[in-house]
């Protein structure tokens, strides 16, 4: 199972959890799973997040593949100037 790590700002919205294991095969499935597990995350996730899979950051890509041994970080949506 992939290891999922939520950034600290999401912890309070995820019933105190910030790490979990997941069978999600891609970003879309992961986000759906997170909302199902922790409905409090929905508004924050809907605003947009970036997802780093094994170090590579995807800013908004539902279909980025998550492998069973992946480490995934859910991060704030990257922006810039």
């Amino acid at each position: 199972m992939a290891r999922i790590i939520l950034w600290g700002g999401l912890k309070a919205l995820a019933n105190g959890a910030n790490e979990l294991d997941s069978d999600a095969k891609n970003v879309r499935a992961l986000l759906d799973e997170l909302v199902e597990l922790y409905p409090g995350l929905k508004p924050r996730l809907n605003k947009g997040v970036s997802v780093a899979i094994d170090g590579e950051i995807f800013r908004d890509n539902w279909f980025a593949e998550i492998k069973p041994d992946s480490t995934v970080h859910v991060l704030p949506l990257l922006a810039g100037g």
């Binding site: 094994d54 990257l78 922006a79």
Partner: protein, 750 residues
């Protein structure tokens, strides 16, 4: 996509990439032909002006516009009542036009469109606004005091456990890190703790915001405006005006600087509302006073840092508590500050906590690497002190702790190939680092990091009958992208750079394009331009194949020609782009290429800066006498523009470090809304900024490009502070390090 095979050192010998041709917009700009935001007019056009709150925090009890509406020349007056409700972007709406409260000095309260600007300004005085003035707060730490005025009665922060039961001025709490910092600090031989503050700095773009709007009662409109992202402007205006996006055509003007400050809307929805009400085109041009008071500067910050180190120079733990105020609405870039703060270092134990705080200031807007310079100022200042404490050269200290491939970043993901160590090694071996210093001079070094990203981009190009190429992109050119994208098309198609003309297309002409920000355009629009070129070349190969009567896959594109792929394909003379283009009508019609992408793989960016600063012990004035930037560009498409980005970021960072600040009085009124009192550096204030381009190719781009627009503003605050510390023996923790503060510190140190 991964272009690893294309970016290996021997994969390709470039012809156009890496050259320094003349900029395509240069002649128009120096001769005054370029059309900026305020340079267009329309028949029957009205002039819009804005009434702004003189109070930092006040309830708006009533607004009487009747006398203004009756004034000579006035065609329309709008207030918040002229906009609808239920917005997707409620804070943007409230910032564009105040609702129940005025939340900062300069907040828009009403607007008038009249036949002349003079008539509009005269009528502005006839609008009667009844305020109930409230106590305000502009300082980030004061906003957290138990008795601080509360801006939003419904604001309860997320990310805080347990959630507060009363409203606060904290919008969000963020936390990043890994390991056990308490354990790490116990292992340390030396621990340094410091607190730092930075004032807000404005992006300081030369061109104030300006627009010309037309919107009919049928919901169809056009908007010409000065922006970094006209698609986003369309999206926001459609939301605030309740119109369909397809009915609003937005054209981006030439832009006189943005640096992140033109990534949202201020006057555009107001001009559209005035136009709709008056049924006339309406033009609004901000004054510099309005730009300072009512467009977004960056956040101000207050940061506590604690770093522990072993005697051998290895950092055992790092912690930072970052508090950024982002003006009157949530959205300070504190999460990026908290993510980037320790990104340069490979740490076992690291933790950052960030608080997004609201105050009675204009809503902050992105400014080059938003949130990172303030964090880097704090961290890199303490790192400098620690290096001295353990008796190590500051570059050696950084190299010992530097992030590299395989390092778990302080914000989570593990880094792949990165160029930080290369920037440090190059700086260490550069003549600047060993050059002798004069009296009262000191040398400083600091590192910086920025994420970079790609984003949505749509590009189209057309091969014209005369063999020239028209390139349409949807990302406004704020840093030379027309030149860099034209170079990429020239490289791919094998045509001369001068034969490619790039334009910024309007919102009706291309698919959605994200804003020009995040150092993304040369990267993401570059990928799209290259792939669009490749698509057009495929079409041209097919036309040649048809002409020769051979299969399409038996033809390849090389050096601007379609050629048989090998001897088996037949013996045909290569057909040039010019020949194929000339016969396009007879071989199948127009030849074009396009590409759409939501690009990932931008690759992070690091830099190291060196500064020599001379301090006048009599006045406290600090002068930068030598400055060198070392940064990884992946691949420099047009090296002059890359150097320009390095230099520009450094200069803006130096101004932020030494002079620039928002100064408020006790009532929250901005005291220096002009360039006389808000002092940005000019050419005579600075030495030539030397730029050293390093190239560690990014496999996420066909040529290895990394964004270069933002990282260069991250290190200067700390670089200058560290140089000043070396020159005068004082550790400045409060930005800007203006002469009175420096003189006070010198006197206190005596």
């Amino acid at each position: 996509m991964n272009y690893q095979s294309e970016v290996s050192p021997d994969a390709r010998k470039f012809k156009s990439i890496g050259t320094r041709p003349l900029r395509p917009d240069g002649l128009d700009k120096v001769t005054g032909k370029a059309r900026f935001g305020a340079d267009v007019s329309a028949p029957g056009m009205l002039h819009g002006v804005i009434l702004r709150s003189p109070h930092a925090h006040a309830l708006i009890k009533s607004i009487d516009t009747s006398k203004a509406e009756a004034a000579e020349g006035v065609h329309a007056v709008v207030t918040r009542a002229d906009f609808g409700s239920d917005f997707d972007n409620p804070d943007v709406m409230d910032n564009v036009m105040a609702g129940k409260k005025a939340l900062y000095d300069g907040h828009t309260v009403a607007a008038i469109a009249a036949s002349s600007e003079a008539a509009a300004r005269k009528a502005l005085k006839l609008i009667k606004v009844e305020y109930e003035v409230l106590k305000g707060v502009t300082d980030v730490d004061a906003a957290l005091a138990p008795d601080a005025p509360i801006l939003h009665e419904d604001m309860v922060p997320d990310g805080v456990d347990p959630a507060p039961t009363k409203p606060t001025n904290i919008a969000h709490r963020h936390e990043f890190g890994h390991g056990d910092v308490d354990k790490g600090f116990k292992e340390a031989d030396i621990i340094i703790e410091r607190s730092f503050k930075t004032e807000a700095a404005h992006q300081g773009y030369i061109e104030p915001h300006a627009c010309l709007a037309t919107l009919g009662s049928d919901g169809r409109g056009e908007l010409w405006c000065c922006t970094q992202g006209h698609y986003y402007v369309r999206e926001l205006c459609a939301d605030l005006l309740k119109i369909e996006e397809s009915q609003l055509r937005v054209t981006a003007s030439e832009i006189g600087g943005g640096f992140g400050g033109k990534t949202t809307v201020f006057i555009e929805p107001v001009a559209l509302a005035l136009s709709k009400k008056s049924n006339r085109p309406v033009k609004i041009v901000m004054s510099r006073n309005e730009v300072f008071r009512a467009s977004g500067p960056t956040a101000s910050s207050s940061v506590d840092v604690k770093i522990g180190v072993k005697k051998d120079g290895r950092i055992t733990a790092g912690f930072a508590n970052l508090r950024y105020q982002g003006g009157a609405y949530p959205g300070s870039p504190v999460e990026f500050g908290a993510m980037s703060a320790f990104a340069c270092y490979d740490l076992e134990n690291v933790k950052t906590v960030g608080y997004d705080i609201v105050t009675n200031r204009p809503k902050q807007v992105a400014y080059r690497a938003p949130g990172a310079p303030m964090a880097a100022f704090a961290i890199e200042s303490v790192v400098d002190e620690l290096a001295k404490k353990v008796g190590m050269d500051p570059i050696e200290f950084r190299l010992k702790n530097a992030s590299s491939a395989g390092s778990k970043s302080s914000y989570g993901p593990t880094f792949s190939d990165i160029g930080l160590a290369l920037t440090l090694e190059t700086a260490k071996n550069h003549p600047h680092y060993s050059a002798p210093l004069g009296p009262n001079q000191g040398r400083g070094v600091a590192c910086g990091f920025w994420f970079n990203f790609g984003g949505q981009t749509s590009v189209s190009l057309a091969v014209n009958a005369d063999g020239t190429v028209g390139l349409s992109v949807g990302t406004p050119d704020i840093g030379g992208s027309r030149a860099s994208l034209s170079l990429m098309v020239a490289e791919e198609m094998g045509v001369e750079y001068e034969k490619v003309r790039a334009i910024i297309a309007d919102t009706a002409s291309l698919g959605y394009n994200d804003v020009t920000d995040g150092s993304r355009v040369t990267f993401a629009s570059g990928i799209a331009a290259i792939e669009a070129s490749r698509n057009a070349c495929k079409v041209m190969c097919a036309r040649a194949a048809k002409t020769w009567g051979i299969p399409e896959d038996a033809v390849v594109w090389e050096d601007g020609h379609a050629k048989p792929a090998g001897s088996n394909a037949g013996d045909f003379k290569p057909m040039s782009l010019v020949e194929i283009a000339a016969n396009a009508s007879s071989t199948g019609g127009p030849i074009a290429g396009h590409h759409e992408i939501n690009a990932d793989g931008a690759g992070v960016s690091f830099s190291t800066h060196l500064a020599d600063v001379e301090v006048d012990p009599e006045t406290g004035r600090a002068e930068v006498v030598r400055y060198t930037v070392f940064q990884d560009a992946g691949k420099a498409i047009h090296p002059s523009y890359v150097e320009g980005q390095f230099q520009g970021g450094a200069v803006q960072g130096i101004g932020w470090a030494l002079n620039e600040e928002y100064i408020y009085d006790n009532e929250g009124r901005l005291q220096n809304p002009g360039f006389l009192d808000y002092r940005i550096p000019v050419a005579s204030d600075l030495p030539m900024i030397d730029a050293v381009i390093l190239e560690v190719p990014n496999p996420g781009h066909p040529y290895g490009v990394r964004g270069v627009g933002e990282t260069s503003i991250v290190p200067p605050l700390a670089t200058v502070a560290n140089a000043l510390a070396a020159a005068a023996g004082i550790r400045m923790t409060d930005i800007p390090m203006s002469p009175p503060k420096v003189l006070k510190a010198i006197d206190e140190a005596k």
